[in-house]
Amino acid sequence: MRFLNCIGFVLVSVTYVSAQTNNSIDFTEYDLKNGLHVILHEDHSTPIVAVTVMYHVGSKNEDPSRTGMAHFFEHLLFEGSENIARGEFDNYVENAGGVLNANTTQDRTFYYELLPSNQLKLGLWLESERMLHAKIQQIGIDTQNEVVKEEKRMRVDNKPYGNLLEKTMEACYDEHPYQWTPIGSMDHLDAATHEDFMSFYNTFYVPNNATLSIAGDIDIISTIQLIELYFSDIPRGTKEIYIPTVVEKTRTEERRSIVYGKDRLPLVVQAYPIPAQGTPDYYAVDMLNQVLSGGASSRLNRSVVDEKQLALYCGAFSFGLEHPGLTLAFAMVNMGVEPADVESAMNEEVDLLKSELISDRELKKLKNQIESDFVSSNSSMAGIAESLANYHTYFGDANLINTEIDRYLAITADDIKRAANIYYNPSSRVTIYFQHNDTKSE
């Protein structure tokens, strides 16, 4: 059976992208029989290889009474496997001259090893061990439980404005799991049983929910063979992979709140719901945000920071997510300035975009910026491996690494004005002031 299993993989597709521009990224992609998607990019300029696995699980896939599980797994899965003793995962990689790490978002969990290219096999072995039979033991759970709590203290509780995202997401989502952030609830993690962990692992850490993306100094054919050896005997998952279907209701009235804390400078945050990443309007909103805060000449910076001198920083960016996400506009208010004055200055700029088309020169500026960013974006093997995996995981189209720019370049001044009117809608907005505790009584 094992023999059959091994040769029985199916090449679902092999894509080859011809060079359209100097910088296009060639890659090969296919599925193993167990559903693992593989993407390979060959580049011999430096003798290194990035071995990465993206699991399509993030905090939005969590049970609302077990938030923080996805991120917790990111910690737990360095603890070892059937064949890798506790604590040895790092040693193997570092002994080979590599680095490793992982990160978790609302939508996916990403693991990587950056290795000298002669250590490709090691990366494959480690990642396949993690996927096949990670060791989930109480000692690891207990240790990482404390470590994650320290991570939360460091990144959220003890950091200036560390609760910004948590408070914003909480205010913006009532139904959708985006209402909690990947760090999750420490109480939930404390309450999680060994069974909860095993069930999470068996549900989400399966080849049919993963993308193996490798970029660097590799030979495609022998890499395909090695992947076959290490990954093809990992059984396909049998459990249903939970994806939330709840759709956040459209709000009809602005939500306003004040969050008090110990930071001295007030922060003004405005959040507007936007379409899911990858949709046509998402690109229009993203371009709109580029008008507002792309570079020093962007409108918010020029007006709020430079001309009116109301803020230390003012900008807007798309917090693109797989399900409908947010645009976040925020300003760190200069000392002695009223947050309300900053808020109206921000609104003035947005209102201008709703009533007037941006000029041809401004549109050209945006496109030049996009082109320049695009050229710079694929400069490392780690970055390429991650982008390919992202594009596949979210859109089923890894080739967006080469073509997504066209979607941006297709946006017109009219699209931007329309996006401003539809999405920068005051009645669906959430506005939060982060203020110092001392301002409470006023």
Partner: protein
């Protein structure tokens, strides 16, 4: 786009043909796979040339992306800003905020329109764009370089932002910790230890920026590092065209003294309201130039302790074993002037002291135990890998060339780096750790909740947790004294409490004997005689061993001498005046004015739950600076702090006056006097006091 290129059809065919055979060689999952043959690590090429105006040009050619970056970097010795501290931090943004031909808004738009970037700092001016925009970018860059406007409006805007920034930093544990460690390690007398304040920022004016620009933005101390889609000849031509007209001029050079290290372990704490973690840094200065003989071995040593690798000892101990923290690391920075060693972590409040125990344990272990060969091998492998991986970016090669030039390193320093790394031995690691890591001369700093303070006293050589504010200044929590209370009344009250000014003034002679303990190791006999009679005033103190006077100190109105198992040495200047003031009268604090020493009541301080009136005695021209702490309740002088700090030496003495005993008629003296000066602790215990008995006046002879 075409699917299935020829190349890939071949790939597929080959795959199906070879797969079964390959797979016969089953993998054994229980063991880690062997690596393939080690790849050859090639350093990219760089070229170095010089323009006639002295500008050094470094070019690294890489045509992977149609992009070129230009980075001008200035190499001048660090500048002590003093009262204008903060100017250098603001300088770059100001320089980039408009030229004599373009307002800030016009300049910003021109740069953004190219999709380019252009940034400045007090040591650099860097731009980057697609190759096709290189000329336009360089035109803007040279405009910024040659014609910065330094407009008043922009200066005011940046000042407001800097002041707001200071306010924001007051609640950031990371910022506070970085300021605290800088000021402790380098002091405010060294450029690396300066901290800007609201006052220094408010005082800045346009001339400060202009004169810095005129003096330091010169081609003869500058490097132009060019990386990307360009060849060295083109780069030279463009550098000539855009920067050839830059005029050279001598730039001042300052050779900074290396600030003195702490002489013992000091615990320095900066409280932050509501903190849920302690930001811990153990730090001391080190003195190792970049590229010096031991630099690579030192970085291996640091990597084992807590450098980048996850397998570092601090990470394994404090995170993976104890789960005290999300991450614990260390850094060992080489620097041509002065560098530092720092071990750091953010830990939850309850384990602050336990974490410091582990930090000290790991630092000591580096010096006391040889590392095992497996650890050394892993670390070398890790560092070899990092070196190779960093070569992915052309900037690495550019920075190698830049370092070789500015630090004057051997030309093959980086091309032989891996060989030098491989040659590092276990003995090297321990030798360097022993020489450079000082677990008994280290600042143990912590930014966190006040609740943890009591648990940290044990780490201080003197059992004291020193408090600092968010700007690295000693935190003195002082309130105003009650109305009507003056320096004079506090001093008079003190004398009243020990017998009264009048009774004390009647005492003509005093004789005290006892013992003195120095550094907890040596005990000597102590004796002191004083004569307070007008015209015959004198004081003589001696330390004796087996009845033999070995150290003496004699003061009269005419002068003073000291002798330490050697001929007499005359006291002079400040030293003499200071001794005459405090030795020739029993009520000397009231006679400060006679010595030109001014007194000032600073207020009331609470130290460890006890309140004190604080009076400062100072004479700035001869550096007399003494602060007296008078207990509010007993009114007695309980402590003095005296300081004479210089960059080379931080001299602060703290003296506690303990155990006041009533000798009759309400007159009382402290029977114990404990002084701590640096690492030296000295306690004098008086066993016998005689008032107005016969004394040997010959002891007061000065020759």
């Amino acid at each position: 786009m075409k699917l299935f290129s020829n190349k890939h059809i071949r790939t597929l065919a080959l795959l199906f043909a070879t797969a079964p055979f390959t797979l016969l060689a089953q993998i054994d999952r229980s063991i880690a796979p062997e690596p393939g043959p080690a790849p050859i690590i090639e350093l990219g090429e760089s070229t170095v040339t010089e323009l006639p105006n002295g500008l050094t040009l470094i070019v690294v050619e890489n045509h992977r992306l149609p992009k070129v970056s230009w980075s001008l970097r200035l190499d001048y010795s660090p500048i002590l800003e003093g009262a204008t501290s903060g100017m250098l931090d603001m300088y770059g943004e100001l320089m980039r905020s408009g030229t004599t031909t373009k307002t800030k808004a016009e300049l910003d738009e021109a740069i953004d329109f190219l999709g380019a970037s252009l940034n400045a700092s007090s040591t650099s001016l860097s731009g980057s764009s697609l190759t096709k925009h290189s000329d336009e970018l360089l035109m803007l860059m040279s405009d910024v370089l040659f014609n910065p406007a330094f407009s008043e409006n922009e200066i005011n805007k940046l000042k407001t932002q800097a002041l707001s920034g200071l306010m924001a930093a007051e609640t950031s544990p990371g910022e506070i910790s970085s300021i605290l460690t800088r000021t402790l390690n380098y002091t405010h007398l060294h450029p690396y230890g300066e901290v800007s304040t609201a006052e220094s920022i408010e005082s800045l004016n346009r001339d400060d920026f202009v004169s810095f620009y005129d003096r330091y933005f010169r081609p003869n101390i500058a490097y132009l590092v060019v990386v990307g889609d360009i060849n060295p000849e083109e780069a030279y031509k463009m550098a000539e065209q855009y920067f050839g007209g830059w005029v050279k001029s001598d730039v001042p050079y300052v050779r900074w003294e290396v600030p003195a290290r702490a002489r013992f372990n000091r615990v320095c704490f900066s409280p932050i309201e509501g903190a849920v973690q302690s930001t811990i840094k153990l730090t001391h200065t080190i003195n190792m130039a970049p590229g010096s003989e031991d630099a690579i071995a030192a970085s291996v040593m640091n990597s084992i302790l807590g450098g980048g690798a996850f397998s570092g000892r601090l990470m394994q101990n404090l995170r993976e074993d104890k789960a005290f923290t999300y991450g614990a690391r260390s850094s060992f920075s080489t620097d041509p002037y002065v560098g530092s060693f720092t071990a750091y972590a953010d830990v939850r409040n309850e384990v602050t002291d336990s974490s410091i125990v582990e930090f000290l344990y790991e630092i000591k272990r580096m010096t006391s135990e040889p590392v095992d060969s497996a650890t050394l091998a892993l670390t070398k492998n890790y560092m070899t890998g990092s070196f190779a991986r960093n070569l992915e970016s052309s900037w690495t090669v550019a920075s190698f060339a830049f370092n070789i030039e500015r630090y004057d390193l051997p030309k093959d320093y980086y091309s032989t780096y891996l060989e030098k790394l491989a040659a590092v031995t276990i003995e090297d690691i321990q030798r360097i750790a022993k020489h450079h890591l000082k677990s008994d001369q280290i600042y143990i700093t912590c930014v966190g909740s006040r609740d943890v303070i009591p648990s940290l006293e044990k780490f201080s050589t003197h059992g004291i947790v020193e408090l600092f504010d968010a700007y690295g200044k000693p935190l003195i929590e002082r309130r105003d004294a009650a109305p009507g209370v003056t320096a004079e009344s506090v001093i008079t009250d003190h004398y009243k409490s020990i017998g009264g000014v009048r009774a004390l003034s009647k005492i003509k002679t005093l004789k005290k004997t006892g013992s003195i303990e120095i550094g907890g190791a040596m005990t000597l006999g102590y004796s002191q005689i004083n004569c307070y009679r007008k015209g015959a005033r004198g004081a003589h103190r001696s330390f004796s061993m087996s009845g033999q006077e070995i150290i003496t100190n004699t003061i009269t109105d005419e002068g003073g001498v000291e002798a330490q198992m050697s001929p007499l040495k005359a006291m002079e200047g400040s030293d003499l005046l200071r001794n005459q003031w405090s030795s020739l009268s029993l009520t000397y604090l009231l006679e400060s004015e006679d010595y030109g020493i001014s007194t000032e009541l600073l207020g009331i301080e609470n130290i460890n739950g006890v309140e004190y009136h604080v009076v400062k005695f100072s004479r700035t021209d001869i550096h007399i600076d003494l602060t007296g702490y008078f207990e509010l309740e007993s009114k007695r002088l309980a402590m003095t702090k005296e300081s004479t700090s210089t960059l080379e030496q931080d001299m602060t003495s703290t003296t506690n006056y303990n155990n006041y005993i009533d000798l009759g008629d309400g007159i009382s003296f402290p029977m114990e006097k404990v002084s701590i000066t640096g690492i030296q602790r000295m306690s004098i215990r008086i066993g016998n006091v005689e008032i107005d008995s016969e004394i040997d006046h010959t002891k007061f002879t000065l020759d």
